[in-house]
């Protein structure tokens, strides 16, 4: 996948702050630096640093409770880390609010589906366009002229997403009535409708059957290739991770234990141990 990165494992230290890929042709979209986050006594994240390059698919993996979801929550401003900083599009900050993250082009999906259950598929996807809609409340009251044109313009984009995800037949169905796999797809649609620069996917394929997984993989690759969207995804299915991602970060007990290409990470002894449940220390 990542042709330029020579998998010369020897050159990389165990914590994988990969000196081997110091290739300046890559543009960094997001960098997290020494992020530490704890809840009471639980250290969800401990001095974690890594970067996400523009246009890549970056996987975050690790055993249960490793801090993967917490990492995404830090990136999109849900959790505020006690230590560390985030640099996104060149601006460094200690924390973000979810709204600021959204307005700067970060969209995401959740591990447990977070759709608006009472709304139709179309309305859910239209909410993804919310930030881009500018007409004030008085125009909305009239629903006429500029307000209607705006609504139609965004409806076209939403329909484009619906076509892309092949969910035309359920356009007007309340999402609460949809099966799990389709709900995951609609949630991806809502994130895509925002036309994000950085898309965070928390276990997009969890609980899906093989066919649904294949569809989802195809969508993720297409989004990345057609729209050039940078994607960070958490996934437990190793096969999927190896196929999809350009680079992988491995977390365990809140610490980063490896970082590099899929092949490199798979060969890493620390990673193997973590997955086989060999306790560290």
């Amino acid at each position: 996948m990542n042709e330029t990165a020579a998998p010369s494992n020897e050159e990389t230290n165990k914590n994988g702050s990969s000196d081997l890929e110091k290739n300046t042709t890559f543009e960094t979209l997001l960098e997290v630096h020494n992020i530490s986050l704890s809840f009471g006594g639980v250290h969800a994240l401990d001095e974690v640093s890594f970067d996400i390059r523009k246009g890549e698919i970056r996987a975050i993996i690790g055993p249960n409770g490793a801090g993967k979801s917490s990492m995404l929550n830090v990136i999109n401003g849900f959790y505020h880390p006690q230590k560390g900083s985030i640099t996104y599009k060149g601006n460094e900050r200690k924390k973000m609010s979810p709204q600021v993250a959204a307005s700067q082009g970060i969209a995401r999906t959740f591990q447990n589906i977070a759709l608006f259950r009472g709304m139709t598929t179309l309305d859910n996807i239209m909410t993804g366009r919310n930030l881009k809609m500018k007409k004030g409340i008085f125009w909305q009251m009239l629903h006429w002229g500029p307000a209607r044109n705006e609504e139609i313009h965004h409806r076209e984009i939403a329909e484009h997403v619906i076509d892309f995800l092949e969910i035309e037949p359920i356009r007007k169905t309340p999402v609460g009535r949809l099966p799990y796999g389709l709900q995951k797809r609609v949630e991806l649609g809502r994130a895509l409708a925002a036309q994000p620069d950085l898309l965070l996917l928390d276990e997009p394929m969890a609980g899906m059957n093989v066919e649904e997984k294949e569809d989802m993989c195809r969508f993720i690759i297409d989004v990345n290739e057609e729209f050039g969207t940078t994607i960070a995804l958490i996934e437990h299915d190793m096969g999927v991770v190896m196929d999809l991602s350009d680079r992988v970060v491995v977390l365990n007990y809140g610490k980063k234990i490896a970082d590099g290409t899929p092949d490199f990470v798979r060969a890493d002894q620390g990673v193997v141990d973590a997955y086989l449940g060999v306790s560290e220390k």
Partner: protein
Amino acid sequence: MFYRETGQFKSSYKADQAIFPLSQDRWFILFLIIIAFLVIPLTASEYLLQAVMIPLLIFSLASIGLNLLVGYAGQLSLGTGGFMAVGAYMTYKLTTAFPEINIIIVFILAGLISACVGLLFGIPSLRIKGFYLAVATLASQFFLVWMFNKVAWFYNYNSSGTITAPPRELFGITVTGPTATAETRYIVVLAIVCVFALIAKNLVRGRLGRSWMAVRDMDIAAEIIGIRPFQTKLIAFSISSFYCGLAGALMVFLWLGSAETEAFSINESFYVLFMIIIGGLGSILGSFLGATFIVCVPILLTNAPQLFGLSMPIDLQKHIEIMLFGFLIVFFLIVEPHGLARLWQIAKEKLRLWPFPY
């Protein structure tokens, strides 16, 4: 057989986004509007207008207001009566102080003041959720009614403590006060309710409506797509207060003619809440259905026994009424939270398949 989409392909998103995408629905609504504006005022008796049509429309307006807040934005409020009082008392103050201002403009201004009061109470209340929010709105209900009762300035220091609609004209016709006919009052109420029902419908099918529903369904997810839940709820609260205030103003000036704070008690708040539960949470049509139902049932209970030559004691009627409402509220809350509006929709879907139900 005649009611279906067959052959009605929507060639544009504009057509698909219309309020009534099916042409049969459009004809039906046009038909209703003609009946409401022409046939009813020409044929209906004074009693029918005064006891059924006018209150039905005014409560529909209040229900729409409460439904925007409870049904769409998901914030429970028991303060409806209080905000209706704000609208009524502000109309009274404004029109007695500035008799030359057009009464419709006074109604709108009173609604806007009510919206501001809603904002004022909303800021502290909306930081809390669920049960506690309900209690906070209950407090605003009691506070507002108490204030209009205690502060004599609000009723111009008159000895009876009531506010009375003075005569006001619109295009040379008296629309408020004792000399206004039921027909004129009905037409004015109908026009106002139609306009504001349309505005409400426009709001809920646009960006704001989607933000409200998003906050209602899952506020965390709403935040990540850039919606600010607090602001969104606050807007719902104040628009809802506008509608309730306007309904309160119409209630005194175009229906009752005069009122005391009694008319805006907590009972009124529950009354309107029952309407939206029975009619359908999160539906503009449901607001109308619920208001119609709750206004008409007591009248039917009063009149039906006489039609069969029976007589029913008043208190028994009252008890039946309360039991019926109680039963229906439990029924709808448990079985069909989308109320009568949903039943109507199901009936339409059945009709669409009729007579070949497969």
